[in-house]
């Protein structure tokens, strides 16, 4: 098989919010840039974000970045790195205002400013009262944002390779990243993209779970490629279960519904969040709300014939408010739950939503790995941003609206770093190894020639069921141990996947088999990391971690205030310290405390 080669200054993999934001930086600086994306850019999953993007603009209620930083650190259950969190919260106003300048159709306040609504875990004055910090375009903020970013890239003449799937990272003998291999869907041909800088913005891998708000395309391609190339994955045990996925369908219902006044109720109609979070109630952090809901259901207070969901009630809101602020939610409820939320509450269950962990980076978007005693040594030529990356700003639990902020801030930051490195001469075009495409080609030919193999559909289903059962909202030692054995078995089966479709043209069976390889890396990372972490923190909660004065909510800072690093080779774990120091010397660190809402 002949393999074409193309050369660029920079290659960005993924054209969601982070990839498009990074692309703008590079295109506007004049770097020869290729953006590879397996779907047309506006089909990326950023499009599905609903409730808003966080920025302490203070348009409706008093606000500042210090409060936002406090909320984010607390939300992360102190696992987030405080330098990256400070950086993100301080940059928020700038990147959101930029979007407005790009043409994003934000809703407006009466005096013409960007409309902001309350959201879970965001507060005034260090946890005191809810704050309106979420900048919104109705309940279609991600759609409005993704289209505005794509449109700005059209203006900037960014070069896209649409419906190209990246296959593998190419590293040279010293470990420097020198490009990627990619498959063009329409022709089935493999091309090597040789470049000075590679930015991964490939999104999350929520499709490892059976019940997920995520799109089919969220298959952890960046994480999988990085893991196969020897880069560790950080904090993969931390997955966000969004409190309000439509029961059965899994489709997301934004937290903005509760921001606008929505209330969660159990079978007796009780507003149960008052018992779990007396202060912020329904607007507590997502992990807290998801656990409360699961507890209600487990203790028999769920709704419906099988008592297996709770109700999200907005029937007390004015129909005009629903039509104006939550029109998309009404459509979704009618389409996927069969109820009109103006008249009836929506059945909801906690649903896998967001990957807090990912490819380890610093706040500049550089990928960092342990090397020669330095836990955060930059990999030359490799950058990552958005959900595929772990900066780490979300730590053990992300706050709603901080994901759109993450992809803007770190997409831009990664782009800026590449431009700086390029201009300073720190990004040479390193020689491509002679066998650059061999690994990808061997994966392809294995798949091509496999006989008596496993069905991609069946192995995928087994993986999703295993994750759902063994690494869910609440975690148990025996289930996790079994889960590790099971997921390793599933991973063995995935090595023998077979496809019937042998066509060169738009072969989606091949694409799904290659995506499964990526999902499997993420699933293994999740299960192995979760089994090992013997404490409760944020979204990772074990039944055997008691709430004591030394271990508040089961969190054991003495032993577990550290980031997990999982290596694919040998299925092995390592750890590195959390950065508790903010970026600037005059910013006060947020001291460890018990998390209550």
């Amino acid at each position: 098989m002949t393999v074409a080669k193309r050369t660029f200054d920079a290659v960005i993999v993924g054209a969601g919010g982070a990839g498009l934001r990074a692309a703008l930086q590079l295109s506007e600086a004049g770097l020869k840039t290729a953006v590879l994306t397996k779907v047309f850019p506006t089909r990326s999953h950023t499009v599905a974000a609903q409730g808003g993007v966080a920025a302490s603009l203070g348009n409706s209620t008093e606000d500042n970045w210090h409060w936002h930083m406090y909320d984010t650190v607390k939300g992360s259950d102190w696992l987030g790195d405080q330098d990256a969190i400070e950086f993100m919260c301080r940059k928020a106003n700038e990147v959101v205002v930029e979007l407005e300048h790009y043409g994003m159709p934000f809703d407006r306040t009466d005096n013409g400013k960007i409309y902001q609504r309350p959201f879970g875990g965001h507060s005034q004055n260090y946890g005191q009262t809810p704050v309106s910090r979420s900048c919104a375009a109705a309940d279609r903020t991600g759609h409005a944002m993704l289209h505005a970013l794509y449109q700005r890239n059209v203006r900037a003449n960014t070069q896209f390779f649409v419906e190209w799937m990246a296959l593998d990272l190419v590293r040279d003998s010293e470990g420097n990243v020198v490009g990627v291999t990619a498959l063009e869907m329409e022709t089935g041909e493999v091309t090597i993209f040789h470049c000075r800088a590679t930015i991964f913005a490939t999104g999350g891998a929520g499709r490892i779970y059976h019940s997920s708000t995520n799109a089919f395309i969220n298959t952890g391609d960046g994480a999988g490629m990085a893991a196969r190339a020897g880069i560790p994955l950080e904090d993969m045990e931390f997955w966000q279960f969004h409190p309000t996925g439509v029961a059965g369908a899994g489709v997301l219902i934004t937290e903005g519904v509760r921001g606008e006044g929505g209330i969660l109720r159990n079978a007796s109609g009780e507003r149960f969040m008052e018992r779990y979070a007396p202060n912020l109630k329904d607007l507590a952090s997502r992990d807290v709300v998801s656990r409360a809901m699961t507890t209600e259901i487990n203790e028999g207070r769920g709704c419906g014939p099988d008592k297996d969901y709770v109700l999200l009630d907005i029937t007390h809101l004015a129909p005009e408010t629903i039509m104006k602020r939550l029109p998309g939610i009404r459509e979704i409820a009618i389409q996927f739950a069969g109820v009109d939320p103006i008249k009836e509450p929506i059945p909801v269950v906690p649903t896998c939503h967001y990957q807090m962990g990912g490819i380890p980076t610093n706040y500049k978007g550089q990928v960092v790995v342990p090397k020669n005693g330095d836990p955060n040594s930059a990999v030359s030529g490799f950058y990552a941003a958005g959900e595929c990356a772990c900066a780490s700003v979300h730590g053990a639990n992300r706050l709603g609206t901080n994901s759109l902020l993450d992809l803007l801030v770190f997409g831009k930051s990664a782009g800026e770093t590449v431009v700086e490195d390029f201009n300073s001469g720190a990004l040479p075009l390193r020689e491509l190894p002679a066998d650059a495409a061999d690994y990808s080609l061997s994966r392809m030919s294995r798949l091509e020639s496999q006989t008596n193999g496993e069905s991609v559909f069946d192995v995928g289903l087994e993986m999703r069921r295993t994750m759902q059962k063994h690494a869910g909202v609440f975690r148990f030692d025996d289930l996790l141990k079994e889960g590790v054995a099971k997921i390793n078995e599933v991973a063995e089966r995935a090595k023998r996947t077979e496809i019937k479709d042998k066509s060169k043209v738009w072969n989606t069976a091949r694409m799904e088999a290659l995506e499964l390889d990526n999902l499997i890396e993420v699933a293994k990372a999740t299960m192995v990391s979760a089994e090992a972490r013997k404490e409760s923190r944020g979204a990772h909660v074990r039944d055997d971690a008691p709430d004591t004065p030394e271990t508040p909510n089961g969190r054991n800072d003495k032993e577990w205030l550290k980031h997990t690093l999982w290596y694919s080779e040998g299925n092995r774990l390592d750890y590195k310290p959390v950065n508790l120091n903010p970026l600037n010397a005059d910013t006060k660190p947020i001291a460890l405390a018990k998390r209550t809402y």
Partner: protein, 236 residues
């Protein structure tokens, strides 16, 4: 629970092996959780992995799975299985070249979208904070910005079928009006100049197929009418 079977008739074409396209009669066993047409297609793909179609969000916001369903364009993920007479006849979107099965080449569609300069043009110095816009002015963008570029509208439009290279089509014109209607945009006359020719705008004959099929309930015909009004207003 009793199994449900869905009968389908699907347009199949793999240029790698088929001399010409054909309609395949096929049925699929559904699970209780399969509610939408996309659920059935994913189920079917589990049995026959050669069936090719685009899909992503499965909730009607990404615009990937547009296809012709029983003669009418729509999104598979928003189409209730219960609403469909069987056999369900599935064809690729009409009027665009077929690459394979239900996958069409959308180059021409996006070319027209790009031709209207789909980005805000404002040459004032960038202010430090957001540009102000009244809630009323912002409301002018409702019904315009929500477009998901699925191409259901343009590929149901006879004018677009005949002149896909010259007529912008409903999706592109909806986007053109989205920027004309934005109080922050300063390129009104440039945008109108760009559409002032016998084909680009004026090939719309208000057939309204676009309105009929839009899965987001948008109204491109009304937007096109408003552009025509602006053309007239500036001519007098």
């Amino acid at each position: 629970m009793t199994k449900r079977t869905l009968q389908l008739k699907i347009y199949r074409y793999d240029p790698d092996k088929d001399e010409k396209p054909y309609m395949q009669d096929i049925s699929v066993e559904l699970e209780a959780s399969d509610k939408k047409l996309l659920d059935a297609l994913v189920r079917l793909k589990g049995v026959d992995d050669t069936l090719s179609f685009r899909r992503s969000c499965r909730e009607g916001v990404c615009g990937s799975d547009a296809m012709n369903i029983n003669g009418k364009n729509g999104l598979a993920c928003l189409t209730d299985l219960e609403s469909l007479p069987q056999p369900v006849v599935l064809r690729p979107l009409p009027g665009l070249p077929v690459i394979r099965d239900l996958i069409v080449d959308m180059t021409q569609f996006f070319k027209q979208y790009h031709s209207i300069k789909p980005y805000l043009i404002n040459n004032d110095p960038t202010p430090e904070r957001e540009r102000l816009q009244t809630p009323e002015d912002r409301e002018e963008l409702n019904g315009l910005y929500e477009c998901i570029l699925c191409a259901c509208c343009s590929t149901s439009c006879p004018s677009f079928w005949w002149n896909p290279d010259k007529f912008v089509g409903p999706a592109g014109l909806l986007a053109a009006y989205r920027f004309l209607a934005d109080t922050r945009d300063q390129a009104t006359s440039e945008r109108l100049d760009n559409l002032e020719d016998p084909y680009r705008l004026f090939r719309c004959h208000s057939i309204m197929n676009c309105v009929d099929v839009c899965p987001k309930g948008l109204n491109p015909t009304r937007a096109i009418g408003k552009i025509k009004d602006m053309m007239v207003a500036r001519a007098v």
